[in-house]
Symmetry: C2
């Protein structure tokens, strides 16, 4: 990690920048896969799965037998842990359900907002060595709570055409039975256009590599919504003398092990805490299985000594981190000052892992500075708000003149007349 002591405001702008990623130009590839899947459906998916996942699959859907088998293969220990996490995630997300009041804005004019579930949603779960079943919980549970009618889950098969049983177990546990062995661009294409096996969805959720991310961006050109723009994961920690360096180091490492492009930042108003944390980091890093990954991530990561905690908060708000740990005394006093962050962890015992897995909050969060203008995934991400209004005869009589004047000023005479005709009709009735 690179240490900076009391950088000037001019130096801040450089420290606030994310490392620039080598961005592959994938537009043409995504276009090609999209076209093929749109035209040839399942056949194209089989071809791309053979090309990228090195396995021949013609029936993508996880069978009832595979679901039963997964139920046997997953250990009771994992099942119990998943149950605890599931209950917490459910409790937290149910707290996000909102009922809006009906407002009589003018006598006889009632207006209100109602929510409706997005009917069809797709969830993408990346493949790879580790089964990211926690993301199945994080994206599936709010979809169920919102009341989405159709939920489809796509995840790439391994070279034997299988999906990790924990993924299957967790999906069926929360009521997702349409699990498809499809990964990469072809999965996003399939959910965008629909094929014989894959339903067309209204919104696509989930993390992925650059291929999947670019495919999600381009899916938006075909009427599909996406959860949020994606980038590498990030953690910013603010620590003062009340923090425990051993804990802070372990949190920095838990972020850095995600990938070589992860970014971690440590801010403090105390040099000794920084030094002790860096010592601890060295010790803990040496025994970490994913040491090589973390070491690369630390190369573009910064430790910054600032004048006081208010300055630390200011820096954090400008950086807009995905995860923010406040390992400081009286942390709750600083909550109201946090303007830009995805998820905030308060105090010495709130490690990021808690939110990643089991405390209840969602772990799908805005990265790369998007915490300035995007929210993490919540029940709301699976809902639309619809506005309703009901004007009585009295309502249009009370508000009619106002509408007529405004419509006339905007030179939209048919807008005005829709009111005048009603007012005339009511006059005649009197």
């Amino acid at each position: 990690m690179n240490l900076f002591e009391f950088p000037t405001y001019n130096q801040w702008s450089k420290l606030l920048t994310r490392p620039i990623l080598e961005k592959l130009n994938l537009n043409d590839l995504v276009d090609k896969v999209f076209n093929d899947v749109k035209e040839k459906g399942d056949k194209a998916i089989t071809q791309y799965t053979y090309l990228y996942d090195k396995v021949l699959i013609e029936n993508f859907k996880v069978s009832d037998e595979e679901i039963l088998l997964a139920n046997v293969e997953v250990s009771n220990e994992i099942k119990e842990a998943v149950n605890v996490a599931k209950a917490n995630i459910e409790n937290f997300h149910i707290s996000q359900i909102v009922n809006f009041p009906k407002i009589e804005t003018t006598k006889g004019v009632n207006c209100w907002t109602e929510t409706r579930a997005i009917e069809k949603v797709g969830i993408y779960i990346p493949g790879g060595s580790a089964p990211l079943f926690s993301t199945v919980l994080m994206l599936g549970i709010p979809a169920k709570i919102a009341g989405c009618k159709e939920i489809v889950l796509c995840t790439p098969p391994d070279s034997e055409g299988k999906i990790n049983p924990i993924i299957i177990y967790v999906a069926q546990l929360i009521g997702i039975n349409n699990i498809l062995k499809i990964g990469g661009i072809q999965a996003i294409a399939a959910m965008t256009f629909g094929t014989q096996s894959v339903p067309k969805v209204d919104k696509i959720f989930g993390p992925g590599n650059q291929y999947v991310t670019q495919a999600k961006v381009q899916a938006q050109n075909f009427g599909v919504a996406i959860d949020m723009p994606a980038g590498p994961s990030e953690l910013l920690i603010i620590a003062d003398t009340s923090s425990i360096p051993e804990f802070v180091a372990s949190d920095l490492l838990s972020q850095a092990e995600h990938g070589i492009d992860s970014q971690v930042i440590l801010l403090s108003d105390n040099k000794m805490i920084i030094e002790k944390t860096l010592e601890q980091l060295k010790i803990q890093l040496s025994t970490l299985p994913r040491k090589d990954i973390a070491e690369v991530a630390f190369k573009t990561s910064n430790v910054i000594l600032l004048n006081n905690l208010d300055e630390c908060i200011e820096f954090s708000n400008l950086y807009a981190p995905e995860h923010l740990i406040l390992a400081i005394k009286n942390a709750p006093d600083f909550v109201s000052k946090i303007n830009n962050a995805g998820s905030v962890f308060i105090g010495n015992y709130s490690c990021e892992s808690a939110g990643d897995y089991a405390s209840g909050t969602n772990h799908t969060l805005p990265t790369n500075g998007f915490a300035r203008n995007y929210s993490g995934v919540s029940v709301d991400s699976y809902l639309k708000k619809i506005f309703f209004q009901e004007l009585s005869a009295q309502g249009i009589q009370n508000l009619g003149k106002t509408i007529e004047i405004m419509a006339q000023a905007e030179q939209l005479m048919a807008h005005k007349r829709a009111v005048s005709i009603r007012l005339d009709y009511l006059k005649k009735e009197e």
Copy 2:
């Protein structure tokens, strides 16, 4: 309008399609303007304003004198109407403010959601013959209620370098003082990158022509969020024998006068109502100032006779209209069946104009089928949700084992260790 009687389900798919617009390929143009504005700032804006708006402007900001003058120029009649609309829009949007509860998901594990305003937002108001001041209300009021710190409004100047005084009056009335005489792609570019005169914003709102819309889409590549994808305005009316054909015709016309690409659809279970409405349409059309526009719009618009009201609702949900009028008996009974719509108007006296101007609901709504997966603009559009969690020592002790098991199953050992280190520390303390 084209009449279809009892179309088969196979015919529905064609009737559900929007007219295909001739889409200009503007990517390269937008790229060029973006690059120029990014590099040359205000100077580039002056050049593009001279090119497109035919006027030389070097100081884009509306001056205090212009604001004072606008206050004098706007009639008292319009001021009073604007005040009524403003109060209603404020009342309705304040009802969308949400406070989320704190949830103890596990003993000692507290989680909650807080909202924060997006700090800097940009509002684009199109130019043209009519001053669209109603959109200033619709986009400015929720920004103020949300608490956005910086609000900038861009709108193109006329050939004399002026902005319609009603726009200026309404903007300052709701507290927007940074009004800039900039239109088109260069306005979106300026708010995306920031220039000497224009602050860089986090999210851009507002309608516009194809140039502005494409610029908003491309702005997303530079970290800016946008309100929603935009398309031509639409209205679907469901009418039964309780409807008043004169009213229904006036509503169809108020939508059709928006533009030649507006689409209106009338659904009914009763042929006589359809016939009477079409008669009224003919009569009212003949005296409409924007007759020529409406006539073109009606060419791609459909009247469809269906078997019953449930079928009408089903069709409407599949079409996902921006505006939906339920001119039917017992309309409130059908509200719960509406799944996809931007804004819904209930009964004979709820004309679309009411919502367009003054009832209180927002008129910035998803078009082109996006009501399936997007919401209209609300206070929420100007907010981010941030998740918070605070675990006590007891909290991590209660939840620690669960997190460890899950992290291990995902092979993220640093995630596990962040918990183990805390549990060990607490054990030693005991």
